[in-house]
Symmetry: C2
């Protein structure tokens, strides 16, 4: 079924040298401009000539230069994936987290659209050097209300898509990460397992996930006649901040028997604080968290968490950004992936460890 | 200590518009070419003029355009990190593996050198579209002897650094991933724990790690009067291939009491096969693997593995590539990071699960 090579076709001077557009032009008996138009389906080129040029290019093994295309179109052909979380939460020992899980899928999704994905992880002790990056647009994870990275990108006039809405900025398209639904599900699970006094532990930063979680939690407490107990920790404090915040919670509210710690690093710190208090998880206090990553799974006991369908989120974010790259005014402003699923583990369910 | 802004300095017409090189030229009373030379320390510019231009640029908040710099220098200012493992091993459910752990560190390391890191994960069912990428060089993880990605990059004349030597190709600079030392350490550990008939399970592909492991294993067997039993599985078969290979091993060599499964996916499959055979890990067969990732940690029982110091490897790979980007003929051909450390877990040590 393959196209057979025309035996009379000229071959480039050296078989090792990569064929150029001039080689294709010479072999097809047309000008280099005609080759360019024919291969890019631009300009007026007779249909037979177009086919002949394309076949010649195939036969010679001609590949257009991405560098030349970039210079011609002014496109970078690349997008950045940017973490807006501090290094202490998203970098270092826990770098195999949310960002990288999204990155793996987003990179593959971008490649299939002809885009390179530039990975911009948190950098210790310094702001991200975004001005170094020649990109066409960016995906930013869970930006804060005053996110400096988003501000920089918008100032450069670059399309931005957020994974998790930017608080107070409806102008930036986003993929909904379902923080309200996630919080409701975690709280309902704790209640179903028997917890009656559930506290919420969130980050101090003004991220949409915390804003939505706080609202969901307050609604849940009101509906179930539960006294709201909300602790706040600074993300840049990592596990230690979660541990300290939970220790304070346990001193001030000793009757707590359930904890929804939205940040996985906080949840791991909270388990340490509970143990340090002479209590056990889940017997005395059930603990749940949001992101089902290596921290949740390797915690002792393993933490009940949520499958956020990051695959869907990541590829939807790339798709949404792709739509906006073209300057399409009709492109959607937001997308909602499938609702999350609960992943129940020993930290809340009191089941025996599964031993094979 | 900071430089104070000259009150007499002109400001750009609109405070929102990003200042251009023309704004700096106008404010400093020189030509745009002089501004460019002064800021890039090129050409002849009087030392006082140079300082005045630099101060003006600072005061106006001028940032050079990375796009303009790229066009001028012809550099892409980006490098790619490329996985040469099949999707079944390095993608999908196990995407948070070796590649992404290296990627997180390499991306940060590249950023500090002014380079963007383009992430190129395995793509299901298709070859990597590297010709799309405008890059200055690439890091390739554990290439096979006939790696198509390395061949493509070298054909384009791009500098390449391998993480793990490419078999049969000493021309490509590499970071040593210490496969001989890793295998020796794992085998010695199994023996120290009491295993007397140890089998090796490696991938079928011609990767340097398998070649080195096989040689180390044969040397170890000869030294300890052990009959060598080597099983080979196709990486693209993932966990199932490891399970099948181990099941065959157990049928043909029922006295095996130790297994060194180099690929983590194979090790997880091997545990399934051992259980399916009515045997227990580690009581009947001790199992160890190489990469200490989420698979090793979340396996039941958790797998003894090796801390390869991927942080060091990743930043050394970026540093080595950076040296070669400049066309430096004296740049080193290889680097060896610190030797790996054993991470002992229940799959080989017969210790009680650590419960906090």
């Amino acid at each position: 079924m393959g196209t057979s090579t025309d035996g009379s076709m000229q071959t480039p001077a050296s078989p090792k040298r990569r064929p150029t557009i001039a080689d294709v032009a010479r072999a097809a008996g047309v000008s280099p401009t005609t080759v360019s138009h024919a291969l890019n389906d631009k300009g007026y080129v007779d249909v037979h000539t177009r086919e002949r040029v394309k076949e010649t290019a195939r036969a010679l093994g001609y590949r257009p230069s991405i560098r030349a295309q970039r210079l011609r179109t002014g496109e970078a052909r690349s997008i950045a994936l940017i973490s807006s979380m501090p290094y202490e939460v998203a970098g270092g020992a826990s770098r195999l987290g949310f960002l990288m899980e999204v990155a793996a899928v987003a990179a593959a999704s971008a490649l299939t659209r002809g885009l390179a994905l530039v990975l911009v992880p948190p950098v210790m002790g310094s702001r991200l050097p975004l001005e170094q990056l020649d990109i066409d647009g960016a995906i930013v994870l869970e930006p804060t209300a005053d996110d400096a990275n988003v501000a920089h990108l918008l100032e450069r006039g670059l399309p931005v898509v957020c994974l998790g809405r930017q608080p107070g900025n409806d102008a930036v398209p986003y993929v909904d990460i379902h923080s309200s639904a996630t919080t409701e599900m975690l709280l309902q699970h704790l209640k179903d397992e028997g917890s009656q006094r559930i506290a919420l532990l969130i980050g101090a930063q003004e991220r949409n996930s915390y804003i939505e979680s706080r609202a969901s939690y307050q609604k849940f407490c009101a509906e179930h006649g539960m006294e709201p107990v909300i602790a706040v920790a600074d993300e840049s404090g990592g596990e230690a901040a979660g541990r300290d915040a939970c220790a304070t919670l346990l001193r001030e509210h000793p009757s707590i028997d359930g904890l929804c710690a939205l940040v996985d690093a906080f949840a791991v710190g909270a388990v340490q604080a509970i143990n340090g208090h002479g209590l056990r998880v889940p017997d005395n206090v059930r603990v749940v968290t949001r992101y089902d990553g290596i921290r949740a799974r390797s915690c002792r006991p393993p933490l009940t968490a949520v499958d956020l369908h990051l695959d869907d989120m990541a590829s939807q974010a790339v798709g949404l950004l792709f739509d906006h790259l073209g300057g399409n005014a009709d492109a959607r402003r937001s997308i909602a992936p499938p609702l999350p699923n609960l992943v129940v583990r020993e930290s809340s369910a009191g089941v025996e460890p599964q031993m094979i």
